[in-house]
């Protein structure tokens, strides 16, 4: 069957099982947009290409399927570089199609020409510049294969306009042939035995679970391994939901703003079982002082992660789920797991968790409310505590809610104060820390899981970076809900200036009133609400939960003075964790014991 390259491209996407494309057309990609009219694939027209990329990410996060974005050449393509970099850091499968100027114009500084394969080489798993229409089905098949197998990641396919217009004979490749691409799968049995040996002899083990657990669909395997061996589990920022927070073995998030129990258990462990995690500097703190007494078992599908940061005693290059299942099998075969050996450790870990939980100033004897601080702006009620807003939101949303977040203080509070019980219920930008992620990512998540309630917790700073995508959401009837924790500041930066720059606040003030978030939300076709008092918090959330035909934005007026605790200052040892001021006595007690 003869068809144009453009038709072949859309047909290839259909063959790849694509159900939705997030994109925005322009000159170079025009030929490809024509057959989209006749395609079964839904197209969501964004207002900025960055939005398309983050929507595709949000979609991929919650579905496990690759997100697809399509943009034009030049500025369209450069606008999507940030989401590609974000997806690369967090191993999110994305397929991005970019238009390119015609082959004969490449290299001439033609109108809207940008060397997007060159620009994105360092932020994609691989990219292709198609030079012949006959390559299209083959390259698209390869692109999906590379994006979704091994360690997932973003790929980009650049399609010159003349290639899209040329005719070709349709085919669909049954197999891909990439001689240099052989992702790992099954673990080496000898390494599994060596790891099982370390696990069965450890007396202070911790499972350090990362995003790879979710990527490899290994949450059940993880639960089984943890219970089988009675090993406490920490879940990194990328792995929140990979192990239920309510489980007695769950210690929550490690790292710079992690729980005291998670951070300290890792520091004092004699064995870290790293599963799909990568010893990120936000987790390890000062590397030289990180978990000094721990042996390390490191499982990752990416061989380059093994030993990149911390040299393991046993490295296993494999799919996480297969490796964990093999580990459980080997441990079970050993029969005697003697978990009584771990009793003192489990007791100690449980005490840390109990005595030093996440906390905030929940109200004092002087009668101040647990919901608000005693500070207020002139002529206004006392400011809300952001943690109170999050706890209320957590308790008022259905159990299958997907929580999305921006980047900043609100992100850390969201991770800390939410209770993650299910996998794929948390969507955030971990590795790149991209402000502006949450609004479009929430939209993509809602497209992927229309039956789920999708809430985004956003900062006022982040919201202003990509809020225009709420127009997309209104037009496309994608009813996401956005809770802005409006502290009038680039709060996280303010916190660093507070702690490390003698409270010299340089360029972090935003104003809580400008823009008028309610007016802005309404102008974009959303329901807009403003919440200033504690009494209004729950009713507003309940009202938002009822809205199902358009997006909702709630502007929560929160106190800028609130700081995220605990905190390990950048570059410091995790042993020097700073806890909430109300916990200094508890900290002393815990330290004197261990």
């Amino acid at each position: 069957m003869q068809m144009t390259g453009a038709q072949a491209l859309v047909k290839s996407l259909e063959h790849g099982g694509v159900e939705v494309i997030f994109g925005l057309p322009g000159g170079a990609i025009l030929p490809v947009y024509d057959p989209i009219i006749d395609s079964s694939i839904r197209h969501v027209l964004v207002r900025h290409e960055q939005g398309a990329g983050h929507m595709a990410e949000g979609y991929a996060h919650v579905t496990g399927r690759p997100g697809v974005a399509m943009v034009t050449s030049g500025p369209g393509a450069t606008n999507i570089v940030t989401p590609l970099a974000d997806a690369y850091m967090d191993s999110i499968p994305l397929v991005c199609i970019t238009g390119q100027v015609s082959s004969s114009a490449i290299g001439t500084d033609a109108f809207q020409e940008a060397d997007i394969t060159g620009i994105t080489m360092g932020v994609t798993k691989h990219n292709w510049l198609i030079t012949d229409a006959n390559e299209i089905p083959r390259v698209i098949a390869e692109a999906f294969h590379v994006a979704t197998t091994g360690r997932p990641g973003p790929v980009l396919v650049d399609v010159p306009k003349d290639v899209a217009n040329a005719t070709m004979e349709w085919y669909w490749p049954e197999e891909v042939d990439l001689p240099g691409y052989r992702p790992a799968a099954a673990p080496d049995p000898a390494a599994v035995e060596a790891a099982a040996e370390l696990i069965s002899s450890a007396s202070r083990p911790v499972i350090y679970a990362g995003g790879g657990i979710l990527k490899s669909r290994a949450t059940e395997a993880l639960l089984e391994l943890a219970e089988l061996t009675s090993t406490p589990v920490v879940t990194t920022l990328m792995a929140r939901g990979a192990f239920p927070d309510s489980h007695p073995l769950c210690l929550g998030m490690p790292g710079m703003h992690g729980s005291y129990g998670a951070v300290t258990a890792m520091q004092q462990a004699d064995l870290l079982v790293a599963l799909g995690s990568r010893f990120d500097d936000r987790v390890t703190g000062n590397l030289a002082a990180f978990a000094p007494g721990a042996k390390v078992v490191h499982v990752d599908i990416d061989a380059a992660e093994i030993g990149k940061v911390r040299r393991p005693d046993v490295g296993i290059v494999a799919d996480c789920r297969l490796a964990i299942e093999a580990l459980s099998g080997s441990l079970r075969a050993r029969g005697d797991l003697r978990t009584s050996r771990l009793a003192p450790w489990l007791e100690q870990v449980a005490r840390w968790k109990e005595e030093l939980p996440y906390t905030y100033d929940r109200g004092a004897a002087d009668g101040t409310s647990p919901a608000t601080t005693d500070r207020r702006l002139p002529g206004r009620p006392p400011l809300l505590k952001p943690q109170f807003v999050l706890e209320t939101l957590r308790d008022a949303t259905p159990p299958d809610t997907v929580l999305v977040s921006g980047v900043g203080q609100h992100q850390m509070w969201a991770s800390q104060f939410w209770r993650f019980e299910r996998p794929y219920s948390w969507v955030n930008s971990g590795g790149l820390g991209t402000m502006g992620f949450s609004v479009p990512a929430a939209i993509g998540a809602k497209v992927g899981r229309p039956e789920a309630t999708v809430w985004a917790v956003d900062g006022d700073g982040c919201f202003q970076m990509t809020a225009q995508e709420l127009v997309t959401a209104s037009v496309e009837r994608i009813p996401v809900k956005i809770a802005i924790l409006n502290n009038g500041y680039l709060g996280m930066v303010r916190q660093w200036q507070h702690m490390f720059y003698e409270e010299r606040y340089s360029e972090v003030y935003l104003s809580p009133d400008l823009p008028d978030y309610v007016g802005w939300a309404e102008a974009m076709g959303c329901v807009g609400m403003r919440v200033e008092t504690a009494e209004e918090v729950l009713p507003a959330i309940e009202k938002a939960n009822q809205v199902d035909d358009r997006p909702v934005v709630i502007d929560f007026r929160t106190d800028a003075m609130e700081q995220v605790f605990p905190m390990v200052p950048a570059g410091a040892s995790n042993d020097d964790i700073v806890v909430h001021p109300s916990q200094t006595a508890a900290l002393e007690k815990a330290r004197s014991r261990s």
């Binding site: 394969t117 060159g118 080489m121 360092g122 798993k125 691989h126 510049l129 030079t131 590379v146 990439l178 001689p179 240099g180 691409y181 052989r182 790992a184 990416d302 061989a303 380059a304 093994i306 030993g307 990149k308 290059v317």
Partner: protein, 180 residues
């Protein structure tokens, strides 16, 4: 791309078989700069199979452990196979072109030295001589040192290429790309 320093153990030789596709050299060199790995020398050439090229890279392992460099390289989709060639198990060769200042009085000495090293004289003028020398990198280093006193006007080296030695079985090179 090369300097005249003698090889020290922190340099390792990687022979990288890549698909002969547009941009593959940019992917490899981009990886090195992005991750802060130092390249001591790099040479690319087609192989007998036109679908593949071979990149011979001498890496400086003070910037990162060799195994990390290999693992990152191996992630590039166009990289098919990586072998580390241990200097004792490899035949290495490099090409050097040099123009040295040599007046009539020095000319004979320079020509003699080129002959001793098995090089060739390419050009002679009243004050300068251009010579070419191919061989093991170490002997090129020696030759360069001996030319220096005459005054090197210009010097270029290609970076080394290598093949496994035949007296050591050819598959002794570490084959890391397979399946790992």
């Amino acid at each position: 791309m090369t300097t005249a320093r003698r090889q020290v153990p922190r340099h390792h030789l990687l022979s990288v078989l890549v698909e002969n596709k547009a941009g593959v050299l940019a992917r490899v060199s981009g990886l090195f700069s992005r991750r802060g790995y130092n390249i001591f020398s790099l040479a690319v050439a087609p192989t007998d199979d036109e679908a593949f090229s071979r990149i011979t890279i001498v890496v400086d392992v003070e910037s990162a452990p060799l195994e990390q460099i290999i693992a990152q390289l191996d992630k590039l989709v166009n990289v098919v196979e990586i072998s580390e060639l241990h200097p004792d198990e490899a035949r290495e060769a490099e090409l050097l072109l040099v123009t040295v200042a040599a007046d009539a009085a020095e000319r004979a000495q320079v020509i003699q030295l080129v002959g001793v090293f098995g090089g060739r004289i390419l050009d002679v003028s009243h004050g300068e001589i251009t010579a070419m020398l191919a061989g093991a990198p170490g002997s090129l280093d020696d030759f360069e040192e001996l030319m220096r006193p005459y005054g090197i006007v210009e010097l270029q080296r290609t970076g080394r290429v290598a093949l496994p030695r035949l007296d050591v079985s050819a598959d002794r090179g570490l084959r890391v790309a397979e399946g790992a």
